[in-house]
């Protein structure tokens, strides 16, 4: 971003949505404090003009994107399939109004299907939408740049996993969100599965946790290795060490992650393993306790409709709440999740799979992007 960039949010506030924009701006200071505590910014956040749905900007809709994979089919207003089959009904209070992708043709194609307007530039939706969601994976190494105009404008933002490729980048985003009081959400789809809350409840009866084994249907670490996030959603973020054994984090022949949860006075430290199983269940998880075992698994879906409703919709519900002004979780959680991801990546590529202490990865160390040339830096200049 150019150093001389000065952003005046009032220039972009249309009369149509001024009320909402003004709320977000005026609540920035309070929000900066409240966001870190996971508090809702305000009940007013759900207030918007007219009877229209939330206007959502879809960023990164092309290759390897949730937008073109599932979100489009869920939010498609006219029942037009974006990928396989739309639900055929307006399920949520969100409407895709604007679209951007690094590939303009893909943006146009997606926009046509959902009846939205493509924009030429990545920051071209500022002032036009109530929330933006980054759906792609390949763009994540540049996400801290792509998201900044929106976060600075107070537009609630969903960040695609794994959120950032360096600690410096994620801290930039989080600092920006705190400064501007912008609700942001950065979650993995598996954090929202019903298995999380179900297991959290059931493991209360199995005594002290001895170990956890999990699997994930994936063939790489960065985008599809969902279970580490799921583990944190169940057991918390107090992870002391991470080890990831793989031949290539971005295209693995084998992949195994180990996460040491520190425990507490009533729970000794315990290890969770995550193994890549690019076949079979979406995930499986077995928690062995001193007095029993609890298991959870999610088989692959037979019907796309079930996949959309059970697998993909819960995250969109949380996303909508974020766009309405309610933070999903404290900013510290986002930082911790990203740090744990980066610690695993660091273990894999810098330490031959050795356990690495969370908190020791250098802030400027960068994980290896799956597509390092995905974005032309010229596209990132702000106007």
């Amino acid at each position: 971003m150019p150093d001389d960039y000065q952003h005046d949010p009032h220039d972009i506030v249309s009369s149509h949505n001024r009320h909402r924009r003004m709320f977000l701006k005026t609540s920035a200071l309070a929000g900066a404090l409240a966001l870190n505590n996971g508090l809702a910014a305000s009940p007013e956040a759900s207030e918007r003009s007219g009877n229209s749905k939330l206007r959502i900007g879809a960023l990164c809709v092309g290759d390897f994107s949730f937008w073109s994979y599932s979100w489009g089919d869920i939010l498609s207003p006219r029942g037009v399939a974006v990928n396989r089959e739309a639900l055929g009904t307006g399920l949520l209070d969100m409407e895709i109004t604007h679209v951007w992708d690094v590939d303009k043709a893909k943006a146009r194609e997606f926009a046509d299907k959902v009846g939205a307007e493509p924009v030429d530039r990545y920051d071209g939706m500022v002032g036009k939408v109530d929330g933006v969601a980054f759906g792609g994976f390949y763009e994540v190494p540049w996400q801290h740049i792509l998201a900044r105009p929106y976060i600075e404008a107070g537009i609630p933002t969903y960040l695609s996993r794994p959120f950032a490729y360096s600690l410096r980048d994620i801290e930039d985003i989080l600092d920006c969100a705190a400064k501007h009081g912008t609700p942001i959400m950065a979650t993995d789809i598996y954090e929202h599965l019903y298995g999380v809350t179900t297991l959290k409840k059931r493991i209360r009866t199995i005594g002290e946790i001895q170990c956890v084994h999990s699997t994930c249907l994936t063939h790489e670490y960065a985008a599809l290795f969902h279970t580490p996030y799921m583990l944190q959603a169940i057991f918390g973020h107090d992870v002391g060490k991470v080890a990831v054994v793989t031949d290539d984090p971005n295209s693995s022949t084998y992949l195994m992650g180990t996460y040491l949860f520190n425990g507490d006075p009533e729970q000794k430290p315990f290890l969770c393993t995550s193994t890549m199983t690019p076949d079979g269940d979406l995930y499986s998880m077995d928690v062995t306790g001193s007095e029993g075992i609890e298991s959870s698994r999610l088989p692959q879906f037979a019907e796309w409709r079930d996949d959309l409703l059970v697998h993909h919709t819960p995250m969109l519900v949380a996303m909508q709440k974020t766009f309405e002004g309610t933070m999903y979780e404290p900013l510290d959680n986002i930082r911790k999740k990203n740090e744990i991801f980066l610690t695993g990546f660091y273990s894999a590529v810098e330490r031959s799979g050795a356990p690495v202490d969370v908190g020791t990865v250098p802030p400027d160390w960068r994980a290896v992007p799956a597509r390092p040339d995905w974005i032309d830096p010229a596209l990132l200049k702000r106007q």
């Binding site: 699997t215 031949d247 992949l255 180990t258 290890l271 393993t273 079979g280 499986s284 062995t288 050795a354």
Partner: protein, 390 residues
């Protein structure tokens, strides 16, 4: 070695006796009239019968010398412990009194007295090359307890001596012989036959939070099932022993053993060339001895050896007795079930994990890169007074 009756004659005689028993009643043949078996028992010597030994704690000893009827009520093997030695003479004498054998003064005193040897201890493992040498040189079959050696030099010295003198050796443990290991190995073969591929393996091992004595059980369990084609190994843990000792500054409270297999091949079943990782949590008190889940291209398959409940006999029979049976099998048949190379390879994998933990912070280390002279620590480096070797 004493001459034994022909094994076929023994089996035939036993079968005839058994047939007769099925058509007779106990009243017709009171105990005093029973035919005295003519089979000569194998005379077995034991080294190390105190702390850390399976000869202690009423595990192996009562199943061989049935002198504890409440633990193991019947004679079940063709072996008889006739002599014993321990670094502590009183411990040896106590063992001798309990199991009705003779304690010898020196570790090498049993050479001319026994048909086979059981080196049963764990803490003595670092001195196995010296303690076994007289027996290996004498051609006396030896069971040498796990983890066999703390360096490849030591392992090779024993193997070379054994080879030179055509001495049979066995280095095993109970989890290499539990039913679950055999069933799982069969299952892997079935998967290969069906053209399925192993994608990953997770496992648990009741390790008592240490690596060389009980963690190695889990290693042997995995190798018995998945084979030896291990390219890399790592032990990720905060310690390698469960107590603080001279050589163990940080007791283990958590750990995983990770093996990266090049693939797997079972003759007659099939071959997989795609690498996979097996990871095993080293636990304590989780209700089972060892378990494994194999993820494959058709789903997964589970197996677990739970703690045996009920009569103590059950625990000995299902967990420990197969190992004793394996010893006798080798002593009696004169055939090694695991080759010298197998023993060397699994020792190398064990040591590679150790080196990963001690020198590479748990990073994966190539098994082939383990230096021959690299030596792992033992928990009590002063366990044996080396003046006994003078």
């Amino acid at each position: 070695m004493p001459t034994h009756p022909n094994r076929r004659d023994f089996i035939a005689a036993a079968a005839a006796t058994g047939t007769a028993a099925t058509v007779s009643t106990a009243e017709e043949h009171p105990r005093s009239n029973r035919k005295t078996p003519t089979v000569e028992l194998l005379s077995v010597g034991v080294v190390a019968v105190g702390a850390g030994s399976h000869m202690n704690y009423s595990i192996w000893a009562p199943t061989i010398n049935p002198e504890e009827p409440d633990v193991w009520p019947i004679r079940s093997t063709r072996m008889k412990i006739t002599h014993c030695w321990d670094r502590d003479p009183e411990t040896a004498r106590e063992f001798a009194r309990k199991y009705k054998c003779e304690a010898v003064a020196n570790y090498y005193d049993m050479v001319d007295k026994v048909d086979a040897m059981i080196f049963a201890g764990f803490y003595e493992c670092a001195w196995w090359p010296k303690l076994t040498k007289p027996y290996l040189e004498a051609g006396i079959p030896c069971h040498i307890n796990r983890p066999f050696a703390y360096s490849m030099e030591d392992a090779r010295s024993m193997i070379e001596t054994a080879k030179k003198h055509n001495t049979l050796i066995l280095c095993t443990d109970e989890r290499e012989y539990i039913k679950e290991a055999h069933v799982a190995r069969w299952k892997v073969g079935e998967l290969l036959k069906e053209g399925k591929q192993i994608l990953g393996v997770t496992s648990d091992n009741s390790a008592g939070y240490e690596y060389p004595a009980h963690g190695v059980h889990g290693l042997y369990f995995m190798l018995a099932i998945l084979g030896l084609d291990v390219a890399e190994a790592s032990l990720q843990a905060d310690g390698w022993w469960n107590q603080k000792t001279i050589s163990s500054p940080n007791p283990m409270t958590w750990g995983t053993l990770n093996l990266r297999f090049n693939g797997i091949e079972i003759e007659g079943s099939g071959k997989q060339t795609k690498p996979f990782v097996a990871t095993q949590q080293q636990l304590s008190g989780y209700g089972a001895n060892a378990g494994m889940r194999i993820y494959h291209t058709g789903g997964w398959w589970d197996i677990m050896n739970h703690w045996t409940r009920g009569e103590r006999l059950n625990r000995l029979y299902y967990l420990f007795f197969p190992t004793v049976y394996a010893m006798q099998r080798m002593f009696e048949t004169g055939e090694m079930q695991w080759s010298y190379d197998y023993i060397l390879k699994k020792t190398r994998i064990f040591l590679t994990g150790f080196k990963s933990h001690l020198e590479h912070n748990g990073a994966m280390v190539r098994v082939d890169d383990l230096p021959e002279d690299w030596k792992a620590p033992c928990p009590h480096p002063d366990w044996i007074d080396e003046s006994i070797f003078n």
